[in-house]
Symmetry: C2
Subunit: 441 residues, 2 copies
Amino acid sequence: MKNLKNLKKGQALWRRAKKIIPGGSQLLSKRAELFLPEQWPSYFKKAKGVMVWDLDGNRYIDTCASIGASILGYADEDVNRAVKKAIDQSNISTLNPPEEVELAELLCRLHPWAKMVRYARGGGEAMAVAVRIGRAYSGKDRIAFCGYHGWHDWYLAANLANDKNLDGHLLPGLAPKGAPRALAGTVIPFNYNKIEELEKIVAENDDIGVIAMEPMRDHEPKNGFLEKVRKIADRVGAVLIFDEVTIGWRLNVGGAHLKYRVNPDIAVFAKGMSNGFPMAAIIGKAKVMQAAQDSFISSSSWSERIGPTAALATIRKMLDKKVPSHLEKIGLIIKNGLRQQAEKLGVKLEIGGFPQLIGLAFDYGSNSQAVMTLFTQEMLKRGFLANGSIDISYALKEEQAKKYLHAVQEVFAVIRQAVLKNKVKELLQGPVAHTKFIRLT
Amino acid sequence: MKNLKNLKKGQALWRRAKKIIPGGSQLLSKRAELFLPEQWPSYFKKAKGVMVWDLDGNRYIDTCASIGASILGYADEDVNRAVKKAIDQSNISTLNPPEEVELAELLCRLHPWAKMVRYARGGGEAMAVAVRIGRAYSGKDRIAFCGYHGWHDWYLAANLANDKNLDGHLLPGLAPKGAPRALAGTVIPFNYNKIEELEKIVAENDDIGVIAMEPMRDHEPKNGFLEKVRKIADRVGAVLIFDEVTIGWRLNVGGAHLKYRVNPDIAVFAKGMSNGFPMAAIIGKAKVMQAAQDSFISSSSWSERIGPTAALATIRKMLDKKVPSHLEKIGLIIKNGLRQQAEKLGVKLEIGGFPQLIGLAFDYGSNSQAVMTLFTQEMLKRGFLANGSIDISYALKEEQAKKYLHAVQEVFAVIRQAVLKNKVKELLQGPVAHTKFIRLT
């Protein structure tokens, strides 16, 4: 058992960071306060597979996979070898990297409905490119959307209410200050599996030019939801964009939409596609993608070589090793194990999501978040970086899954006793974790 | 002399690219058509220092430095060593990379007026973050701007005219299709060194919340231009953003604004800062930067390790080797050499820009672009990637500068004869190069 009092360097650096970086981290989901305030190791020295070493030299098994950015595991040898060769041969020049074309052809082979490809270096950025292309093609600016799509103006504008006091209401936690008020009303949300909500939006707005959504995230589509969305998009002349940044490459090698045989006009990939090296792709039908030529969409950093090199190596390994099958197998072991232990020990736990991307929530009313914090704290003591999101990677093998479940068993016993004796907060060595922003799905 | 007919692989791949990538490249400025249509090598196999090898194995001296993204030179050993170590130790994990904090502290030491830092992975993207923070802090959405700032909606909206037919007028070549029309009028341009234009904008608009500009690009500020902009920003309560993506790190190690002792509220860096590895930084005054916490600004790819690692290694080397002095020295050799040879051979050449970032234009009326194309073609035959933009890198030494000037001498003689005999187009082995978009400065 690790003594959390000895995790000094990470917390000291985190305190320094918050003085010089507003919010401390670049990704909201990597804030220490969202895991374990005042105790979280916060920074890593190195990582390999599913192992992470903090600044104090402690080693952990990491079940969050860099918030889903690592599907193969950290510092994957095959991807790293390809990337380091690209770096030795220079990642840039005035000429272009040929890997761009190779990757475009591979992405179109995997998604035969798509014929053209553009790139970016981040998921939210790539969604902004996709929305630009969608608006350019349809000639209509208004957007209907479902799910989470990043930080850009087009999306955050959904949180600009007519009444400034209501700003932030629709997507709680996504503060929209600084998104231009002129965009208020240009983007309208609907909920997943609620086709009637999208029907209402298109009935009330004759200028919906883009429908942007995650094809799935926590739930399977029901009652032909995706097919119905597709039909509405065709009927009203809207470009249908599937945001595969989170769910892509997990259910199968490619977009999750392939599994459901519903094709968008544009699909967007990032994160897992390149095993954590900054990279994103916007793929689509030729006539839609060609609208990119009517709009200035250009960046120096999109023309470097690491991104496409890492993506090629990652996708080829995913194909070769049948990675999605592994993710499902291990995910099921963990999901079932969690359920059995929660039942056995009488811990009130809700388990959601696909096996590849599991979501946990404790059900103790106003005490739920304190219990989650206790879970993270006790798992950390036992050598795990763990919270309510379990992102399975290829490097997470049955052996580590069993170690995780063994630790969970111990921690659930602690939780059960703590709840019974009403001592949850007493057992916490620091404050309760902040809650994440709640996604509108 | 290279036979351009033997440059087959690059052009073949470029033709394949244009079928699957709208526009062919990710950066407009890397389109083959902007250099030498149907002949440009287009793709690189490897690059080192100022040398680039194409797919056919030809070697060139590259005087464009990846359109300014490489200040140290390609595959710099010190930067690459640091980056490859970061990759071996994993570029991501659920925890954060400590290099983020180290870099933030270094950037604030170099710019003592700045106290806080955020990151992104591209210049245009970082400008969008800066504008978001500026609007959030000032509480006012309208923007006055000068110069080039990328592809995002806030900026391209400047090209949305009241009359759709005039779209694209203000920033010729920057097609704004797909930028939401609701943003029309939210962003207003002024020209560099024309303080009266900015005065007029703030007199006519009481809601200017952001003034965004390149502190310089081609020209020095005149008549206290920067000081006057600073005063206007303070008077009207606008956040002053300096876009240092292109000019930064060239005149001195840090923002070019340091040289002129005028401090913005926010400065934005990218490109050269990390020697071509995707990275960008937004630095600013604490009270302004803290407004980032009132707005959701977050991305997975901003939390990886290569970016800050490459930036730290690049900046340290720039400090250690006094890189800006080298850039100036070599740039002056080239600038003076070009001027002398143009005079000696009677070639009508305009030479502009700082020595570190030279701009060339031939002055032959409607034939000017054909002459530029001939220049690029003849330089290519002699083993140079060269056009009207010369970006000096630390790897460009006196020896290569002399080789370049020697080749220029030969090519200027060809141009002089071609012009005299009215045979410029006859000598071109392919079409005239397309002109770049013209920047509004």
